[in-house]
């Protein structure tokens, strides 16, 4: 089954095929279906942005990819292997890194303990700390502080530090900009761009389209639980306002 996929399968996949592929994925919360057959492809080493208004199903797509929600129909493939039925913790240990919506930190754990939790993906704590503190010196100053007592921006830095340090094959980012100052958001997306340059494939959902289009290779517009349009940012530029305003 899906547990046979090893981390090496995720990363040493030959560069041509897509790293993440959704085919006809349907998903529901209880009796309510929210994804009605989503098709989506994230090519190796690219940044794909999921765009769309509130409640379109962007976060649900990411939940299905990360293993938190099982699809009711269709297939999710990573590096060509079907991962339906794999749990979130299995996928995380296999090289999938998900930064959830809002603050992806444990508020009652210290900064250092938060980073320690990242090591369950199979990296050493000293490596994680080194990368995190080098990238965000502010975290180094506050390593003994409870994460919940830091500012929103600092908390988002902490959750991004995990993405940087666990060396994932695929990074899933959900609403990075939520509740943060524009300057902080711009900084965070700079980092996302750098991660992408290292060859990591990234799927990012974002309500504020303009903030992410600068770094995305492709964008997909999600409306009412369907991917309605896929293309390069330039191609989609004109359709965006129509999608959001529902003309």
């Amino acid at each position: 089954m899906s547990t046979n996929i090893s981390a090496s399968h995720f990363s040493s996949h030959d560069g041509n095929g897509p790293l993440l592929e959704l085919a006809g994925v349907r998903a529901s919360y209880g009796p309510i279906e929210v994804l009605h057959g989503v098709d989506l492809v994230v090519p190796q080493g690219s940044v794909v942005a999921l765009l769309g208004p509130n409640g379109a199903g962007k976060s649900t797509i990411l939940k299905v990819c990360s293993g938190l929600l099982q699809p009711t129909a269709g297939e999710v493939r990573v590096a060509g292997r079907v991962i339906n039925g794999a749990t979130a913790d299995q996928l995380a240990r296999l090289g999938l890194c998900t930064i959830p919506e809002g603050k992806g930190v444990f508020p009652n754990l210290t900064v250092r303990e938060n980073l320690w939790m990242a090591t369950m993906a199979g990296v050493s704590l000293s490596d994680v700390e080194e990368i995190a503190y080098a990238r965000f010196p502010r975290l180094g100053e506050r390593r003994k502080q409870l994460a919940g007592t830091m500012s929103g921006g600092e908390q988002q830095m902490l959750s991004m530090a995990r993405a940087l340090s666990v060396n994932p094959a695929l990074l899933l980012l959900d609403e990075l900009s939520m509740g943060l100052a524009p300057l902080v958001v711009a900084n965070l997306y700079e980092i996302v761009a750098q991660v992408s340059e290292e060859g990591v494939s990234i799927l990012v959902s974002e309500q504020f389209a303009r903030t992410v289009l600068g770094i995305a290779h492709y964008a997909a517009i999600v409306l009412h639980g369907n991917v309605t349009r896929v293309g390069t940012p330039a191609e989609l530029e004109d359709e965006l306002s129509a999608a959001y305003l529902g003309s």
């Binding site: 913790d89 995380a92 890194c97 959830p100 444990f106």
Partner: protein, 758 residues
């Protein structure tokens, strides 16, 4: 000086054992967010099991310890989590409390079942190495058992701290509470961590139980042993269920106070012993009030799984009328003894109604409803009766006064606890309940107060007469049953009316989000205080009538475990509805007794298989707890299902008339003395339990026949009742997920024998 050292050492040892028990609470609460009320019961079970192995069967101590602490206790904890507690995700605080209370009551019933409390020879639980293994330190004699206990407490304190701070698994356990999903995304396994921590918590409880039993020298009584560990709650709360060092300090203070009271209170104070027993609860109450709690947070509003619909006033009136009519027809055919039982059940239902008001409507929790009943009873006993001997009657004035006093006491309890919510409030009321039981209801001897002699609870038993209101005397069983039924019906209608009023809507709003209420300009304080007073008054009224029904009440009638049972059964029935309270009262007051009596009677009639009936009686005592434990699966209560069933029957008119017709027929036969009361009960049970599904099945079959469609075949009969088709095969493929694995789906060819793919 030597006395001081002696008592200090004893206090330290007791504190150490308290710490072990409290640390178990902290561990399970930290990882699963569930406050384990059954901690004390686990400790009690462990103590009994250890006694059985060590002295009952004469095993050597190390082996008995290994089996109890190394195997049984951790297994019990793990199973408890996997089977019961895991299902509590996304339920409200009340459900969480009730389920773990249910586990506690279940273990208690189990212990009394297995280890007969009236055994001929007393169970002797000795200290490790016997009571004579003594060393002298500073001129004070200490047993090895006590030294071991204290050293173990220190070791466990250090060990848990190391686990939680210095190991990744320990930190992950703390992370589970914050956000189990995020931990999964990190690659952790929250379920496994929680299971391990419950195993650990049960181990600590068991250890505390085995250590504390010989230290306090108490008899091997299930209730007493359970309460002993519940005393550790105060220590855990001092650490705010988080900090282990603070928990340790709290436990030690608790242990020391306990012994210093013995040592230094003047021996002329007759209440010292009762006071000593209530110290932990008094401390729990004070700690809860003084310690800063979590601030009001807007984000605490979770989407819980409980759903309660609001009945209309019309429904309420009809239901109340039906209840009164049914009760009236029942009492015309009933013998006096079942009528007494029924009246007792109705008074319990009235007390349960106070919980519906408080918990169902306002979301506050009271674990000591019967303690208010006790207070009402005491007031009526002293100030609310006229006449003497057989002519004694309770006055209307007495009933009103009792309710008022209960409301005031309710306010006094609630006022300091106003900031508290959920679990903290629940624990505060529990502390109050135990305090009332131990300090107030034990006041059997006269005491000089303000220059006159006064006894609160003379002789340990109060005689409470039935009421007489104006010219109407409710002394006969029939009249009394009518009184409590009509009162319950009126209170229930009042409850629905409250729910529909602006006040009721404010209560519902407060239940959902106190923070939002505050921002809307409501006075949350006034709301909480008023609903608590109202609820206490109803509980007091119910308690007074319960005492009047029983005639003579002792302190056991107001025991904290009874209050807990009542709350649990009410939540099982449906804490959001008056009918839930009715169900709870009748179940706890009548059904259990009726079942036990029936089985006893059967046992007497068929002496050869008497043992089987004795076994079933014990099983019945465990029944309510078993029902409580399954709450996690259906947190909205049984009433929801019953109402749904009733609505289905209402849709099927022929069926409804059949059932009503049968029931009237049975009643007429009983009224004309053709049928006995027993047969009436049995036939009614058949009519209500067997006829609806049977009739439903018949009507369904007819409907299919009328529409000319074949009814769907149940999965297990496919291939037997009808042929196996490609459609079935495809469905099985998709259920098993074969297409996702890329296995080619087999195709069923016409004429070939069908067989499932391997």
């Amino acid at each position: 000086m030597q006395q001081f050292v002696q008592y200090t050492i004893l206090g330290l040892v007791l504190g150490g054992v308290y710490f072990i028990a409290a640390s178990g609470l902290v561990v399970t609460y930290t990882t699963s967010g569930i406050f384990n009320f059954s901690q004390g019961a686990i400790a009690m079970l462990a103590a009994f099991t250890y006694w059985q192995l060590r002295w009952g069967w004469g095993w050597p101590a190390p082996i008995a310890l290994l089996v109890v602490l190394g195997v049984l206790a951790p297994a019990l904890g793990a199973v408890l989590y996997q089977v019961v507690m895991k299902n509590l995700r996304g339920t409200s605080e009340v459900t969480k409390i009730v389920v773990s209370v249910g586990v506690m009551l279940g273990f208690l019933a189990l212990a009394t079942w297995v280890w007969n409390p009236t055994a001929s020879s007393p169970r002797n639980f000795q200290k490790f190495f016997g009571a004579n293994a003594i060393v002298e330190i500073f001129g004070v004699r200490i047993t090895w058992h006590e030294i071991i206990s204290f050293v173990l407490a220190l070791g466990i304190a250090a060990g848990i701290r190391f686990l939680f701070v210095r190991t990744r698994s320990g930190v992950a356990m703390r992370a589970v509470v914050d956000d189990p999903e995020l931990l999964e995304l990190n690659g952790g396994r929250p379920e496994r961590l929680a299971t391990i921590s419950w195993a650990g918590g049960a181990f600590l409880a068991a250890l505390a139980g085995i250590l504390i039993t010989p230290i306090t020298g108490s008899s091997m009584s299930a209730n007493a042993l359970t309460l002993l560990v519940i005393d550790a709650f105060a220590a855990a709360m001092f650490g705010r269920l988080k900090s282990l060092p603070r928990t340790f300090v709290g436990a030690i203070v608790l242990g020391l106070t306990n012994y210093y009271v013995v040592a230094y209170f003047p021996s002329s104070w007759t209440w010292t012993s009762a006071f000593r027993q209530s110290i932990p609860m008094i401390m729990l109450f004070i700690i809860l009030i003084i310690l800063p709690q979590d601030r009001l947070r807007g984000t605490t509003v979770l989407r819980t799984r409980e759903r309660f619909h609001m009945p209309t006033m019309r429904t309420a009136w009809i239901a109340a009328l039906v209840l009164v009519v049914v009760m009236f027809s029942l009492q015309t055919i009933m013998q006096p003894s079942p009528m007494k039982t029924l009246a007792y059940g109705m008074t319990l239902a009235m007390i349960a109604l106070s919980l519906v008001l408080l918990t169902g409507l306002a979301g506050e929790i009271n674990l000591a409803a019967l303690s208010f009943g006790a207070i009402g009873t005491i007031v009526v006993f002293h100030f609310g009766t006229t006449g003497s001997g057989l002519d004694a009657r309770m006055t209307l004035w007495g009933i009103v006064l009792a309710s008022l006093v209960c409301a005031v006491v309710g306010a006094v309890v609630a006022l300091p606890a106003l900031r508290l919510r959920g679990l903290y409030l629940a624990l505060a009321t529990m502390a109050f309940g135990v305090f009332v039981s131990k300090m107030v209801l034990s006041e059997g001897n006269p005491r000089r107060l303000f220059g006159r002699d006064f006894t609160i609870f003379p002789g340990g038993t109060l005689r409470i007469p039935r009421p007489k209101i104006g010219p109407v005397d409710f002394n006969s069983d029939k009249a009394f049953l009518t009184l409590v039924t009509v009162l319950f019906a009126l209170l229930a209608i009042g409850l629905v009316a409250i729910r529909h009023s602006g006040y009721g809507r404010r209560l519902a709003a407060m239940k959902d989000s106190p923070a939002a209420c505050a921002t809307l300009g409501m006075s949350v304080v006034r709301l909480k205080l008023s609903v608590f007073m109202l609820s206490a008054a109803v509980a007091g009224l119910g308690g007074v009538l319960m005492s009047a029904q029983l005639g003579a009440v002792s302190a056991e009638r107001f025991d904290i475990f009874l209050s807990l049972s009542l709350l649990m059964v009410t939540v099982v029935g449906g804490i959001g509805y008056a009918s839930g309270a009715l169900l709870a009262g009748l179940f706890l007051g009548c059904s259990l007794l009726a079942m036990t009596n029936t089985l006893t009677k059967l046992g007497a009639d068929y002496a050869s298989i008497q043992a089987i009936f004795a076994f079933m009686i014990s099983a019945v005592t465990v029944l309510p707890a078993t029902i409580g434990i399954t709450m996690g699966k259906n947190p909205s209560g049984a009433v929801t299902d019953i109402v749904k069933g009733l609505n289905d029957i209402k849709q099927a008119r022929p069926l409804m008339f059949t059932i009503i017709g049968f029931e009237v027929g049975i009643w007429l036969l009983t009224a004309t003395d053709v049928l006995t009361n027993w047969n009436f009960v049995i036939l009614t049970a058949i009519n209500l339990l067997v006829v609806p599904p049977l009739g439903g099945a018949i009507m369904k079959k007819r409907a299919y026949a009328k529409a000319g469609v074949a009814p769907p075949t149940p999965a297990e009969f496919i291939g037997i009742d009808r042929a196996y088709t490609q459609l079935d095969l495809d469905e099985m493929e998709s259920v098993l997920g074969f297409d996702a694995l890329g296995v080619a789906a087999p195709v069923l060819h016409e004429g070939e024998p069908a067989h499932a793919p391997a």
